[in-house]
């Protein structure tokens, strides 16, 4: 059974987004706030999936890119209060730079080695932030004076459409020629090279694109939350959440990542009364999906399977 075509998926996605745009009419600010965060996480997860699913690189440190972006934007605003868009641009740029600095050498490594390097990058960043408290606010976090808007609806719509556009771009990219080449490079670098593709160049690009969206989303989220802290942006557990979202949603599907993110956040919220048991249950469910439905939600929905 054939999975739906690119155009069709994009259309359905658009439909979903339009429907979601009307949520503010009746959903409370709390639901909106909830989904706002979920959407940003969706972007994080999609950016990660581009790297893992297509370039075939397991990045254990998505929060490195996010954190660099978020903190750059936040610190800048905290120190000089330039216009917000400038901070966001700076944050994004910083994330891309960080991505390059990390990727250029790291791409020489394979499998777990690459993963560990990215993980270490996160740990180092974390150490740096805690130690340089005067600049970063340290473990208690950084308060950002300005915010994009204080209206739930505005924030919600920004997040929603930001996610929609990022998703559209990343998804089309993944199904575009470039995405095809990327996938080939990720799957069999030798063959891709023999077909005349500069594998390193393409993987590097993937990393930069991933960094771009991670950084941008991170910066936007700072100006939504009005504060940045290790626990919200950089901690390993945040990275874990992102990775799990992507795998849950269905790796190598981009769009699936969003489903994963919404599921994780909605679930942990719905189960909040159970205290820490809630996380136990959420991660338990995730584990079951990983064990029984390796293709994730998206796989289940579209019946995409590798061979059959």
């Amino acid at each position: 059974m054939q999975p739906p075509t690119t155009a069709r998926l994009l259309l359905i996605g658009l439909g979903a987004v339009v429907v979601a745009s009307f949520l503010p009419l009746w959903a409370s600010g709390y639901i909106l706030g909830l989904l706002t965060i979920a959407y940003y996480f969706g972007v994080f997860a999609m950016a990660w999936d581009l790297l893992f699913g297509f370039a075939g690189e397991v990045n254990f440190g998505p929060t490195f890119l996010i954190g660099v972006g978020a903190y750059t934007a936040g610190i800048l605003d905290n120190l000089y209060q330039p216009p917000i868009w400038l901070c966001i641009a700076a944050g994004t740029a910083a994330a891309i730079t960080g991505g390059l600095v990390l990727a250029l050498p790291a791409l020489r490594l394979r499998g777990p080695y690459f993963g560990l390097t990215t993980l270490v990058a996160v740990l180092i960043l974390q150490n740096f932030i805690v130690v340089d408290a005067h600049l970063t606010g340290g473990e208690i976090g950084l308060t950002v004076p300005d915010v994009i808007s204080i209206s739930d609806t505005t924030n919600y719509l920004i997040a929603l459409w930001f996610m929609a556009i990022s998703g559209a771009i990343l998804f089309s990219l993944s199904r575009s020629p470039v995405g095809l080449i990327l996938q080939a490079s990720g799957q069999d670098a030798v063959q891709a090279g023999a077909l005349g593709f500069n594998v390193t160049k393409h993987k590097l690009t993937a990393f930069v694109i991933s960094a771009f969206f991670s950084g941008l989303a991170g910066s936007l989220m700072v100006f939504y939350l009005g504060s940045a802290s290790v626990g919200t942006f950089i901690d390993i557990t945040v990275g874990v959440q992102i990775i799990i979202s992507a795998v849950l949603g269905g790796r190598r599907t981009i769009l699936g990542a969003v489903l994963g993110a919404i599921f994780l956040i909605a679930m942990s919220e719905a189960l909040r009364p159970l205290g820490d048991l809630s996380n136990f249950i959420v991660f338990g469910m995730a584990l079951i999906v990983v064990l029984l439905y390796p293709n994730g939600f998206f796989g289940l929905l579209t019946r995409t399977r590798e061979d059959a």
């Binding site: 893992f52 397991v58 050498p105 790291a106 020489r108 490594l109 394979r110 499998g111 777990p112 080695y113 993963g115 560990l116 390097t117 993980l119 270490v120 740990l123 180092i124 150490n127 130690v131 390993i236 557990t237 874990v240 990775i243 799990i244 795998v247 205290g275 820490d276 048991l277 996380n279 136990f280 991660f283 338990g284 995730a286 584990l287 990983v290 064990l291 390796p294 293709n295 590798e306």
Partner: protein
């Protein structure tokens, strides 16, 4: 001068702990190619069990320690049978993708354990009632007896492991499996049994390491992540799958941290080790003694 001895002695204890923690981790990878990211959680579970035994059951330090090790052991086997083994045997996932799946699954599993501990015993740091107390002076350095005890037990445990692996048939088979699983199958050894054996050994090591950690330093459910990370980095530094490599790496990292704490500042304790790791990654991606 005393600083030198202090560094030498303190570094030794903490390094031995790292070594013990990482050995099992390396063994598992060597034999079955599995990176068990629930490592830290298993250790924490062992500690909390030992602590709880003393706290609520009023068990003596020995009983407490025993219970801790037992918990580590059983959890390790549980991890293998519930999480790892199913993924190794499933046909739903392409071989080349199994690595990431086992990583994710053990990660999730670890978090679940961690959450459960936090739920029942709060996330406070816990310490296991020490078996030995008091202070001994070595070359002018006043050293907690417990620190020496820790070093000794770690040494013993590692020595025992060495004997087991080099002096018994079963152990030899395990070692052989870590070098060439296919070869050992052709010699009539069931790999599945080897795996179980390895996870059992690993369980004991984790239990012991955890309990010692709990006596010497004390840990909380928050420590799970950092513990896994440190084992992971030590093993990679030593060269994935190489137990001797892991041992060496453990002492390198342990002493590097102690040196930093003494000579630079306790605030930067962990950073040099991380940088070293990255450096080694780039210069010698296989790690110090890496085979794979």
């Amino acid at each position: 001068m005393t600083v030198f001895w202090q560094i030498l002695i303190d570094g030794f204890a903490i390094s031995s702990l790292y070594a013990l923690g990482a050995t099992g981790f390396a063994l598992i990878f060597g034999v079955s190619g599995v990176l068990n990211l629930s490592h830290g959680s298993l250790m924490v579970a062992a500690v909390v069990a030992a602590w709880a035994a003393g706290d609520s059951l009023h068990a003596g330090p020995y009983t407490g320690a025993a219970i801790g090790v037992a918990v580590g052991f059983s959890l390790s086997l549980l991890t293998y049978f519930v999480v790892v083994s199913p993924l190794q045997h499933t046909r739903k996932i392409r071989e080349e993708e199994k690595e990431i799946f086992i990583l994710t699954a053990t990660l999730l599993w670890g978090i679940m354990i961690q959450q459960l501990i936090a739920y029942f015993y709060t996330d406070n740091a816990k310490t296991v009632a020490p078996i030995v107390q008091g202070v001994v002076a070595i070359v002018g350095v006043r050293t907690p007896a417990n620190e020496i005890f820790t070093a000794i037990v770690c040494g013993l445990a590692i020595a025992l492991l060495w004997l087991l692996v080099n002096r018994t048939r079963a152990g030899k088979a395990v070692l052989a499996a870590s070098m060439n699983p296919r070869g050992i199958t052709l010699l009539g050894v069931e790999l599945s049994q080897v795996y179980v054996a390895v996870w059992a050994i690993y369980g004991v090591l984790v239990g012991v390491a955890g309990v010692l950690l709990g006596m010497f330093l004390g840990i909380s459910s928050y420590s799970a992540g950092p513990l896994t990370a440190s084992a992971f980095s030590i093993v990679v530094l030593g060269g994935l799958g190489s137990v001797p490599g892991a041992l060496i790496a453990a002492y390198v990292v342990g002493y590097l941290e102690t040196l930093t704490a003494y000579l630079i500042s306790p605030a930067y304790r962990t950073i040099p080790a991380l940088l070293l790791l990255v450096a080694v990654m780039y210069v010698r991606p296989r790690g110090l003694l890496g085979r794979r």
